[in-house]
């Protein structure tokens, strides 16, 4: 990294003192919860009673450059996925800002798919949900189905997705999600789905996506896959950026921290 010439470092994502807060309704139980709810409705604005605030990301700042593959590590609940969603512009920031080049996209279409529909219709629906055009989907349709390997054991793509095994469904979801090219790509633990041969195929596909994408973010608990794919790592702990640097350096500290 250090040899890189300065004028080629074009920033693609800038996070500036980013804070994300979740608000959760109705977590206070027992006596007084109904009155709390009432006062919450009556008193609009201000500090609400009965609403728990979860401060998931606390003042994170970093700059990501074109061509970088950045790993996000940290223990469960440290704010990794939240940070990704904020970069994608899917979660509004409480304070601070995220600036991005183009529209960063999260690799994942799970939420758009419907279990009661056939795999075939889900491919189309998922593609449209990601913003592909009908023509693009038609072009890629066979590719997606072949990649998922759903039809290897018979004509499963015309069956409703609820009839799939969990592995098959996960494979189809990944195949749909990976069908689109992105400027800034974010992957949230997507590499651990499917059997061994599918994992190999998906890792290859991720590398391909990395080549065409400007910047890749990868969330994973698997230090090996971080080491294999990333050249820079952000370490989040309790919503704070604890360390930001080259993969080896950060992972060494992280492994010391987690006791491995």
């Amino acid at each position: 990294m250090a040899e890189q010439i300065t004028d080629t470092r074009i920033p693609t994502v800038i996070a500036d003192e980013l804070h994300i807060v979740y608000r959760v309704n109705g977590t206070k139980t027992g006596k007084g919860s109904a009155t709390a709810a009432l006062s919450r409705i009556l008193k609009r604005g201000g500090e609400e009673r009965g609403v728990r605030k979860v401060h998931a990301v606390r003042g994170v700042s970093f700059i990501a450059y074109r061509g970088e593959a950045i790993g996000l590590i940290g223990s469960n609940g440290s704010g990794k996925s939240t940070l990704l969603r904020a970069i994608a512009g899917l979660l509004p920031a409480e304070e601070g800002k995220v600036y991005t080049d183009g529209q960063p996209s999260l690799l994942g279409v799970n939420a758009a798919l419907m279990n009661d529909l056939t795999g075939e219709r889900n491919v189309i629906l998922g593609g449209l949900a990601m913003g592909m055009s009908r023509e693009q989907i038609r072009e890629r349709y066979q590719e997606i189905v072949d990649f998922s390997g759903i039809n290897e054991k018979g004509d499963f793509i015309t069956l409703p997705m609820r009839t799939y095994s969990s592995g098959m469904a996960a494979r189809l979801r990944f195949s749909i999600a990976a069908a689109k090219d992105h400027d800034v790509l974010m992957i949230d633990e997507a590499l651990a789905t499917g059997d061994r041969s599918f994992q190999k195929r998906s890792e290859a596909r991720i590398r391909e996506l990395r080549k065409s994408a400007g910047t890749v973010f990868l969330v994973s608990h698997n230090n090996k896959s971080i080491r294999d794919t990333c050249d820079r790592v952000l370490w989040l702990e309790r919503g704070e950026l604890r360390m930001d640097g080259p993969t080896d350096e950060v992972l060494k500290e992280y492994e010391k921290f987690t006791g491995r």
């Binding site: 994502v13 512009g89 800002k97 600036y99």
Partner: protein
Amino acid sequence: MSETTHDGSVAVSAPPSPDDGLSAADLAAKYGLAVSGARPGLVEYVRQLWGRRHFILAFSQAKLTAQYSQAKLGQLWQVATPLLNAAVYFLIFGLILQADRGMGIKVYIPFLVTGVFVFTFTQSSVMAGVRAISGNLGLVRALHFPRASLPISFSLQQLQQLLFSMLVLFCVTIGFGSYPSLKWLAILPILALQFLFNMGLAMIMARLGSKTPDLAQLMPFVLRTWMYASGVMFSIPLMLEDRDLPVWITDVLQWNPAAIYMDLMRWALIDGYEWDVNLPPFAWLVAVGWAVLVAASGFVYFWKAEERYGRG
């Protein structure tokens, strides 16, 4: 966070660059980066929404199909459900209560069934609107698209549902002696106007529901009150004619959007449901007015909070 060994060892791997002195905002401006998740302008928003039209349509059709996919009779329920609904209303109001108030059964049954179907269209659009954002947070938090796609898509689903009901309605109307005529052409503009109105309402409800999901519990009561006030089972002018009330009260009650779309549809479909007796003055004008007003204001109101949907 003071118990950790946070020694500020944020590794600096970047070599010195001319950008070092710049603040984040200046740096973003220099390389043309935009604030992520910012709300686009209204025109740009419409353009994005138009770009997503295929998704909106496919999503509504998928929801519609998914609804009955577990049932043995499958998509037959699309028609069977409104048919059974009509049968129940016929049984209770037509045969048992004989609530036709001198309208005659040949007019009253199509009158009732039209009212029920047309009102259900608005009612289910409102209910779907309330849950459009709050019930699809997973989708909102995972993918990027103009959020108005959701309430629009749900209204579109209800429109397709209504088209199945219309088939049943045609059979009922013909069965009670009102045959197709040129007046039936008016069904199309009436449906279009009501759809616009419903869509606007769904967008308003979607924004309210995203902030206060409790509306899903409250709305059924509001909607039922609205239904009784709109004359689904009875004719407003017939009901009020023997009361000593000024005419304008009847007019105002009939200008209520749900009532106006029902009455226009009844006039278009049913022989013997005469315009001058049953419809308030300026009926078409009011119908267009409601549609344009609610659709436009609902859209703007929804768009104003675009960047805030999806917060927990």
